[in-house]
């Protein structure tokens, strides 16, 4: 109702009508074959805020999310801005094929949508959406999103308890309980220290050795890895 009145009162500012507060439903579906997402963080924010930017180094808060699934740092980073944030809508792990929905009431300044969650089993892979412009018009919008590498940890592909802490090398968990052991490590270095498109897990076919603890027929993916459906009400 207010919107209609507003249109009559000041048609001249039609182009800025996205500045209205809005209610949106954001549904994230894990479309991978066998990869898991840790708790999601979803935020509507202003143009000068973000969770990550490709081609730039990860913040320590992003690193904590990408290496261990810990979104508390990103939460406090966003709470220092005007952002409207929802954490962990699944709740818990978002298993392959599953979807989680969050309802966000967005303040008028928050015209951009971002989200992220760590992908398991990876060293520092995450699914991400960076600053997608929330449409002005009511409707249902679908976005396919990709897997990124935070660029903060070498992708050694060794599953190791406790390695979710930032800076501790290894994959903290393989929730499908289908990873191997005894891998020697795929690599010890990471040449690209910026957030970039993940090159994928390598894996191998040796469950009790080889270079990787991951399986080359199970723990792989191709982009996109998730479908985001946004309903603007």
């Amino acid at each position: 109702m207010n919107k209609t009145n507003f249109l009559i009162v000041s048609a001249f500012s039609l182009t800025t009508f996205a500045a209205a507060a809005a209610e949106i439903d954001v549904t994230v579906q894990n479309t991978t074959h066998a990869m898991y997402f840790t708790p999601l963080i979803i935020a509507a924010h202003a143009m000068d805020a973000s969770i990550f930017t490709s081609g730039q180094a990860a913040s320590s808060e992003l690193q904590a999310m990408a290496e261990g699934g810990d979104i508390s740092g990103l939460e406090s980073l966003l709470s220092g801005t005007t952002a409207n944030t929802i954490s962990n809508p699944a709740p818990g792990l978002l298993i392959p094929g599953a979807a989680a929905t969050a309802t966000l009431s967005t303040d008028s300044a928050n015209q951009y949508l971002s989200l992220s969650a760590m992908i398991l089993p990876t060293n520092d892979g995450f699914v991400g959406l960076d600053s997608w412009k929330i449409p002005e018009e009511a409707g249902t919008y679908t976005i396919k999103i990709n897997a990124y590498d935070a660029g903060t940890e070498a992708n050694n592909e060794i599953v190791s308890m406790g390695s979710g802490a930032p800076g501790v090398l290894g994959i903290p968990a393989a929730p499908g309980m289908d990873a191997g052991t005894g891998g020697l490590g795929v690599t010890t270095s990471e040449s690209n220290a910026t957030v970039h498109i993940h090159r994928g897990n390598l894996g191998d076919d040796d469950i009790a050795g080889g270079n990787s603890d991951l399986s080359n027929t199970v723990h792989r993916w191709l982009n996109p890895v998730a479908t985001v459906t946004v309903v603007v009400k």
Partner: protein, 246 residues
């Protein structure tokens, strides 16, 4: 109640106007910025009415890009999936050299700029071009140099609708030129993984441009490959941030 809502809304709208005037271009990271390249092909006869800035970001983990080449012309695609690559495109996709592509244009119908050097993974470069009104189709190409004949880019994007200070962001995947077998053999890859031969006239692959299936690498069982797991890539490989600045 209704009026106060409207009033508040108007105030916020004013803020939004200021915000949008600040441009969408905050994610230029300033790393490896080269925007002093002179256009290599220009015409004295046309009035330079419009100016565009294109920020190219290499999103791959470990594939250096050959110097990204930006062309704006009067239209016509530079490649088509399912069709053979032109000789000029073959040369770019096998060696990274875009000079044949640039000289293939009528110089009154095209404007172009080539980055001063390779674009390394995680880095960005700003390219800017001044163009006349009739040149409104944008093309950008680069080779992934640690491959046999992979390239990324876009062709024939109509930018005439882009308003002043408006930004559009495009992410792009990788194509296979189909002109050289993806052997990954030593001596066949021009990038630092091999420093092998670039362009060869012989066409020993499908002779059709396709979406690239990715590199296999020695770490994934192709024992003859000079590439490693670090050279693997998935789409998209490149981000373009296109802004009309004049």
């Amino acid at each position: 109640m209704k009026y106060s809502t409207i009033k508040q809304f108007l105030l916020l709208t004013g803020v939004a106007v200021i915000l949008s005037a600040c441009s969408d271009n905050d994610d230029n990271n300033g790393a490896n910025v080269n925007n002093d390249d002179a256009p290599t092909i220009t015409s004295d006869d046309v009035v330079m009415d419009y100016q565009y800035q294109v920020t190219v970001t290499n999103l791959t983990h470990g594939q250096p890009f050959s110097p990204p080449t930006l062309i704006v012309n009067t239209g016509a695609p530079l490649w088509e999936v399912g069709q053979p690559a032109s000789l000029a495109l073959e040369k770019l996709a096998e060696s990274g050299d875009s000079s044949d592509l640039l000289s293939s244009f009528d110089q009154t119908q095209a404007t172009s700029v080539v980055s001063t050097g390779p674009l390394l993974p995680g880095n960005s470069v700003d390219l800017s071009l001044s163009i006349s009104e009739q040149h409104t189709y944008l093309h950008l190409l680069t080779m992934l140099v640690n491959t046999n004949d992979a390239f990324s880019g876009l062709t024939n994007l109509d930018i005439s609708e882009l308003a002043l200070n408006e930004t559009t962001i495009v992410t792009l995947g990788v194509y296979d030129a189909g002109t050289e077998e993806n052997s990954e053999l030593a001596g066949t890859i021009p990038g630092p993984a091999d420093s092998g031969t670039g362009f060869e006239t012989q066409r020993d692959d499908t002779d059709k441009v396709s979406v690239h299936a990715g590199v296999v690498t020695s770490d994934d069982g192709l024992l003859q490959s000079v590439l490693t797991q670090a050279d693997r890539f998935d789409n998209p490989a490149m981000k373009l941030t296109i802004t009309r600045i004049k």
